[in-house]
């Protein structure tokens, strides 16, 4: 079975700047979030995978093919680029149909595929509108539509939600999630952590061109044993719960926020999360709210990247 995207020992230099440094990565089917601050190498990685750049060391393969040297690799690729540029004078549907034709489809089928992709991004009513007259959010949708119109196996979306309104953003998040079902590999790069979190638990984090982490957010967080979790619990008798928690081996610290809120620090999130309802039940109470500010992507990103 061919790995959809294989990156092996890849380095890329721009003059004296090492944009990527010995990166090893595999992207498998499903949605994967590509995270990192500005200048971390996300866009360079995207350009290498889409054959716009050639690695200085190592190799990139998309469905087993070299995307820089072998145009056939592009059959499998759909790219939503970061920049907001088009053949501005053209209607969206004509622009897309022209690009689909470069995949070898006939004129009729290209037009049908372009229309279908525009329907998928909820732009069917603006299909004949010139691109220069479209809002930023609509243009973003056209970029996504042209990336999926030829039904590629690998979809790369570089900052796909930039400029979209909240309602549109929710729709696009659903679209990205749906793209990741089946055998398609979707890589989404973004700075906005909660957007990535809404799309997928699978992430790749890079900084200074180096791979910092890859995998499931929760599993990655669990590996950070030296970084305990804080859990904030709301309960009728916070003081009573605090006393009971102090006896637990996993609990490192307990502090009372107010009469009904206690914040604890644990080294074993899963164990404590299972234990807390039992403790509350033994007190004849129930927990009204329980949150861990350290278990989300933002916290993980903060530890690993910032």
């Amino acid at each position: 079975m061919t790995t959809p995207i294989e990156v092996r020992g890849v380095s890329k230099l721009f003059g004296l700047v090492r944009a990527l440094d010995e990166i090893d990565l595999d992207f498998e089917p499903g949605v994967t979030g590509l995270l990192g601050p500005n200048g971390s190498g996300k866009s360079t990685l995207m350009k290498l995978v889409t054959g716009q750049l050639r690695p200085d060391t190592g190799h990139v393969r998309v469905m087993g093919r070299d995307p820089f040297a072998d145009p056939a690799a592009m059959t499998a690729i759909g790219l939503c680029p970061e920049h907001d540029k088009f053949y501005e004078e053209m209607p969206a549907v004509d622009f897309m149909a022209a690009l689909v034709r470069l995949h070898g489809f006939g004129a009729r089928e290209s037009l049908d595929r372009a229309r279908a992709a525009l329907v998928r991004v909820d732009l069917e009513r603006a299909a004949t509108k010139p691109l220069r007259e479209m809002s930023r959010g609509m243009r973003q949708r056209v970029k996504i539509a042209q990336a999926i119109a030829h039904d590629p196996l690998v979809v790369l979306l570089d900052e796909p939600l930039t400029g979209t309104d909240p309602v549109g953003r929710a729709g696009l998040i659903d679209l990205v999630v749906s793209l990741g079902t089946g055998d398609r590999t979707v890589v989404v790069s973004s700075h906005v952590l909660h957007e990535i979190e809404a799309m997928t638990p699978q992430v790749v984090m890079i900084r200074y061109g180096r791979l910092r982490a890859q995998g499931n957010i929760r599993r990655l967080r669990a590996l950070l044993e030296d970084r305990p979790y804080r859990i904030r619990v709301e309960i009728a008798d916070a003081r009573g719960l605090a006393v009971r928690l102090l006896a637990s081996a996993e609990i490192r610290a307990v502090s009372l926020i107010d009469l009904h809120t206690v914040e604890l620090t644990t080294v074993a999130l899963d164990v404590t999360c299972a234990e807390l309802p039992r403790l509350a039940a033994s007190m004849g109470l129930s927990i009204t709210r329980m949150v861990s500010p350290d278990a989300d992507l933002e916290s993980l990103y903060g530890y690993l990247v910032s």
Partner: protein, 255 residues
Amino acid sequence: MTHPSAPPSARPLPAPPSARPLPAQVGLVLFWARFHAVRTLRRPASTLWVLASVIIVVSLRLFGSSSARDLVDFEVTLIMPLLAMLFGSGGLREEVEDQTLTYAFVRPFDRGGVFVARTLAACAVVCAPVLLGVAIAANDPVDVARDLAVAVLGAAAYTSVFAGLGLVLRHPTLIGLGVLAWEQVVGGVPGFLSRLTLRAHLRGLLELDSGAGLFSSMFRAPAWWVSLPILIGVTALALAGGVWWVRHRELVVPK
């Protein structure tokens, strides 16, 4: 990193373009060339240039005292190189600057094909007014057929050269103007040096030999069997060089 529920990627890839029959690849080049030629002609600035070149020839034909051969000479050796520089040197460089090149480069379409298509598009845009101008200027129907063929050949040669320059140079207009100056100045110098210009070979094919009297041998244009292979060779060399460059170099779209 594998998603727990991810199914295997068993969907086969469609046949790569290299495995497709040659007519399909040629078809893609022609489609992309037509697409960009139409785009170029729809731009007001391009339309203005094309119209201006036609209006100049029509005006000279109607109100000027120049002979038909002089007008053909003017059209093929001055207007045509100028239009070729304007439309040819833009090509892919323009798409890099406009950040639109990515859309073509992430398709299963050989990058060399993208370059050839853009050059063909520019050549078509150059040919449109030049062929019209030549047809308007010419008198003799026998000459017209030959003049039109030579004009197409010249447009191909000039456009390929300027497209190649546009590809490798960041600011091709300055060098392009230098090439035009070389063509006009050196092309008019008697002797062997003029044969280092496309202009001299085009004039030879158009039978615009202006040599006379004592210095006739110095002004004599090259024979057709010299000029024809040279013009075809320059076109092929410029195209092949451009194709090699596009295939092997990174054309990075700026952020």
